[in-house]
Symmetry: C2
Subunit: 231 residues, 2 copies
C-alpha cells in the first residue's frame, strides 16, 4: 500500500474553494473577464451557442481541453449563472448543458472577437482542428441584412467540412442562433465552401454577389429560399 493517505485538509467545505482569481477592479470589462476570462470558457460558450450539448460532445468539439478542466469550467459557469445543467427525460440517461439568458448574452462578445480574429484565418495550419459550425458566426454576419425577408427562418448550410444551420433575423433572446448538423426543419439550404464563407464574414463580398457568381448553391422553394436566391 504505497497510497498516501491525504490529510482531510481541515474542513475543506464540500463546495469548491470558490476563490477564483479576480482582477478586483471596479471596471465592467474586468468584471466580464473575471467571469469568462479563464482559458476555454469562451470557447465553451461558442459551443453552447449552438444549443444544449452533452459533456462528451463538448469534449469532442473542444480538442485539447482536458476532462478535468472541462468539468471544472462547466461547474464554474454553472455557479456563475452562465449555464444550467438539465437532466434529460429517463429514456436517455444523460444530462445536457445549456446557456442561460445571461450566457447567451455573450454572443456579441464572441462576434466581436471573431470579427477581429478573422484576418488570422488566412493561414490554415495543418494542426488546426475544424468543425463546420465554427463558420456560423462569420456567415451570420453576412446574412444580417435578411432580417425582414425570413424572420426566424432556418438555413441549412453545407460545407466540405460538414453541415450546420443558422437562424436568420431577430428572434427570442436566449434561443440558439445556430446549431450543429442539419436542422429538423429548414426553410432553405445552401452549399458553399469554407473560404467563401470566411470572405463573406470579412465583408469582402456580399451574399448577393456570391449567389450571382454561382459560388453559392441555394435550394428550397419557400419564401426564404427565394429571397436568398433573388437577393
Amino acid at each position: 500500500m504505497s497510497r498516501l493517505r491525504r490529510m482531510p485538509r481541515q474542513q475543506q467545505p464540500a463546495t469548491r474553494p470558490v476563490r477564483r482569481r479576480s482582477y478586483d477592479q471596479f471596471c465592467a470589462g474586468a468584471r466580464a473577464l473575471d467571469a469568462v476570462g479563464d482559458r476555454w470558457t469562451l470557447l465553451i460558450v461558442r459551443e453552447l451557442l449552438a444549443g444544449p450539448r452533452r459533456y462528451t460532445d463538448l469534449h469532442a468539439d473542444l480538442p485539447g481541453v482536458s476532462t478535468d478542466v472541462l468539468a471544472s469550467r462547466l461547474k464554474d459557469m454553472e455557479q456563475g449563472g452562465l449555464v444550467t445543467r438539465r437532466r434529460l427525460p429517463p429514456p436517455a440517461a444523460a444530462s445536457v448543458y445549456e446557456l442561460t439568458g445571461r450566457g447567451h448574452g455573450l454572443l456579441p462578445v464572441l462576434a466581436a472577437l471573431a470579427e477581429w480574429g478573422a484576418p488570422a484565418l488566412v493561414e490554415r495550419r495543418p494542426t488546426d482542428a475544424v468543425r463546420a459550425h465554427w463558420f456560423a458566426l462569420p456567415l451570420l454576419r453576412a446574412l444580417e441584412g435578411f432580417g425582414g425577408a425570413g424572420d426566424g427562418g432556418v438555413v441549412d448550410v453545407r460545407l466540405d467540412e460538414g453541415e450546420f444551420h443558422v437562424r436568420t433575423g431577430r428572434q427570442a433572446p436566449g434561443e440558439p442562433v445556430y446549431g450543429d448538423g442539419p436542422a429538423v426543419r429548414a426553410d432553405a439550404r445552401i452549399a458553399l465552401d469554407a473560404e467563401l464563407c470566411l470572405a463573406l464574414g470579412r465583408g469582402e463580398l456580399t451574399f448577393a454577389e456570391a449567389v450571382k457568381d454561382g459560388r453559392i448553391e441555394v435550394s428550397g422553394e419557400g419564401p426564404l429560399a427565394v429571397a436568398l436566391r433573388g437577393a
Copy 2:
C-alpha cells in the same frame, strides 16, 4: 549550498520559447483568443486605448499584475503586432508603449465585454481598485449619438474618482478615443458621478435626460458644449 543546480534544459534558445499555448482551431474566435486570451492582455489593451503609456504607468494602473508578467505580455503583444514600443526624444529618457492599428481594433471587443459585464458593477467591493478612465467606455456608449454635433470634439469628464477625457464622433482609426487626465484642449467639460456614468452606459437613461435633471453639469461655450447642454 543546498541550492539545486538546475539543468540547462538542453539548448534552451536565447529567444523566448515562443511556444505560447494555442488552441489550434481553425476558428476566428479561437484565433483571437490565441492572441488576446492570456490573463491581463485585454486589460493592457484597455489601458493603451487611452493612448501611449509608459511601463511604470501601466504597472500602476493594473494593480495585481506582477512585473515579469507585464513585461512578458508587452513582449508578446509587440511580437503579435498589437503594440509598438517607441522611445521618447532624449530629454525624457523613457519609452512608451502604444497600440498599433490592429491593437486599436480591439475596441469593439472591449466594448462588448464592458457592456456584458456592466450589470456586475451593481456591487462595489471594498477590495476593488478604481481608475477614472475606466468609466470612459460606458460614457462613450452614452455619447454615441453625438457624432454629428461635435465631430471629433473632446469632452473633459470630472468624476469624484478622478478626471479623464473622451473624443466624440467618428475619427481616424488608431486614434485614442479616450485618455487619462484632462485633455490639452477640450471643447466642453462635464461633471457627474460614477453611478450616473454607469447608468448611462447601461442605457437606463439618456444623456439628455440626465442633463435636464441637473445630474450632469456641462461647462464651456463652444458648439459641442452647447449641443451637450441643449440635447
